[in-house]
Symmetry: C2
Subunit: 327 residues, 2 copies
């Protein structure tokens, strides 16, 4: 396992420190470096706070800034941040209008964010949205929160920036969660630095369908095939797992860490063609490496059915390290 790292114990801290140095125009460390927060907090705006294990970069720290997140808590690799980290983020980021916690649907994350909400609840108004955009399968059980989290964070972040109140943000987020669906595929497993163990091994002609973003196996091992077959399978499954709320959608092809841009563009091409064939109007596109599983070679396809107000929110100014436009 060759990676750019010094020691498994310090890897996350060094990486987050590098991120903060590189993007000092958007972010600063919060108290005791327990979290990363927006450089300029906005008094009276609902704070949007997210977090999760490390290994998914740029998610979530890359989305801290105007029009998206106010703070992000980073745990160890593939490990939830502690309630203490989350409480510290709430205390610093809440400027009076309360906090919306955006939590990916994994037991550890949900538990720790709930505990933090309880601990901080007597002094702060707190609501939580659980993102569960992954397709549902028998093997993987409940829907996990994966790349679609980026879309949800962007939209509630934009709405908060425009002054939406906490209760409405909770409704918006919960509502969105049902209209965002993702599915991933891996060409390789990943090696977790501190265990030096590969989460699953794939042969030279095998792929893993339905993977999440923690190196966990998906729902089926399939023979390696061409991009059209793989991407169409992802897109068809996503489409069949979601009831189209409107004909307008955002299509998002995400790299899982080790897949280069050229392959993401090619996969997007196939996914886009499929959606057109199925009568889905792709109004917005996102292609890139936004929610990773360490250095996994693989992609996910996310489809989000959005109404006109939500498309408008998507287009509004955002200034973060990983998503930036309009300012």
């Amino acid at each position: 396992m060759k990676k750019f790292m010094n020691a498994a114990e310090t890897m996350v801290a060094e990486s987050v420190e590098g991120f903060v140095r590189a993007h000092a125009e958007f972010v600063v460390f919060g108290a005791d470096q327990k979290f990363v927060r927006r450089r300029q907090l906005v008094p009276g705006k609902v704070a949007i706070i997210s977090g999760g294990g490390a290994g998914h970069e740029p998610m979530h720290i890359g989305f801290v800034g105007r029009g998206m997140l106010d703070a992000a808590c980073v745990g160890h690799i593939f490990t939830s941040p502690t309630p203490s980290q989350i409480v510290a983020a709430i205390e610093e980021a809440d400027t009076g209008a309360g906090c919306l916690l955006v939590v990916k649907n994994y037991d550890g994350d949900v538990m720790n964010f709930e505990m933090a909400a309880e601990m901080a609840g007597s002094h702060h108004k707190i609501e939580m949205v659980i993102v569960s955009d992954d397709i549902k399968t028998e093997r993987t059980g409940s829907r996990r929160g994966v790349a679609g989290t980026v879309v949800l964070e962007r939209l509630v972040g934009a709405a908060a920036e425009q002054g939406m109140a906490l209760a409405e943000l909770k409704v918006l987020g919960s509502n969105l969660s049902t209209r965002i669906r993702s599915m991933g595929v891996a060409l390789t497993g990943v090696t977790v630095p501190h265990t030096q163990r590969t989460t699953f091994l794939l042969g030279p002609d095998e792929i893993e369908m339905g993977v999440g973003i923690h190196g966990e196996p998906g729902h089926s091992r399939e023979p390696f095939s061409n991009a059209d077959a793989i991407v169409r399978h992802l897109g068809e499954t996503v489409l069949s797992d979601i009831a189209p709320a409107t004909g307008k959608a955002l299509l998002f092809v995400n790299g899982l860490g080790g897949t280069p841009p050229a392959e993401l563009y090619l996969a997007f091409n196939t996914a886009h063609r499929l959606m057109m064939e199925r009568g889905v109007h792709i109004e917005r596109s996102l292609v890139g490496t936004y929610a990773t599983s360490l250095d996994m070679q693989g992609i996910s396809v996310t489809l989000a059915f959005l109404n006109d107000e939500e498309l408008f929110l998507w287009d509004s100014p955002v200034a973060t390290a990983a998503l930036r436009w309009g300012c």
Copy 2:
């Protein structure tokens, strides 16, 4: 070799098509899909045109748009675009003020861009800047054009947008080229799709120092080490190979395709610390996957000494798929 592709023959065309679909707000195909151009050309502005082999995405197509390139020509993988492609781009992108061709210093690219300039020269004012930001070593011969090309394209693109004339742009670009220096390292070789051959093979404890972006070997094979040692070696070599023009610099850590963001941040952290120790003031930062060598695991470190006018150009609005701010 598992990649998201359908056939080696169609890989580049499908990938570029996906890119154009995903980023239709910035780009359109030029005539006969020979190149990608800015959606809104600006009459009377000098056209900045670049290009090169495929396999380096998002370079150069990801930099087409306001404040950077007007057109980019994509060849086959690791193969220069043809003079015919470049001539077509010149004819369509030149709105009257002439064209600046930005060419990475590789024999094939230089030859084909020169041939195109000759072919189109009777009807268009054309100048060329050759980018040679790579460190110089005995083994690799002349300086190649690598990730630093991104910085140069951004700065001449910004200056052109502000109305700089062709002759001045040529001076700016040539001058910049001497103040931008890069060095790369590979943890893995790459497999070229149409040959199915790996350009070089590295053992589990080996790295290749001084690589370019075409899978060619670098100048020395070294034992794998920790990130601090590797990145400091890159940074020290870059520093010793460039005469600091001012104390102000842009530091750019680039992923070569298969290296995830978390590792890039960590490498940036080390590089940034080194530069501070050496008294270099890092005024701007760039961290990400911008100039790739297919799916190579590796990074490059680029240092660009910039004066205040150039820092101002860097900050001016840019709206491309891969770099975007201020608009």
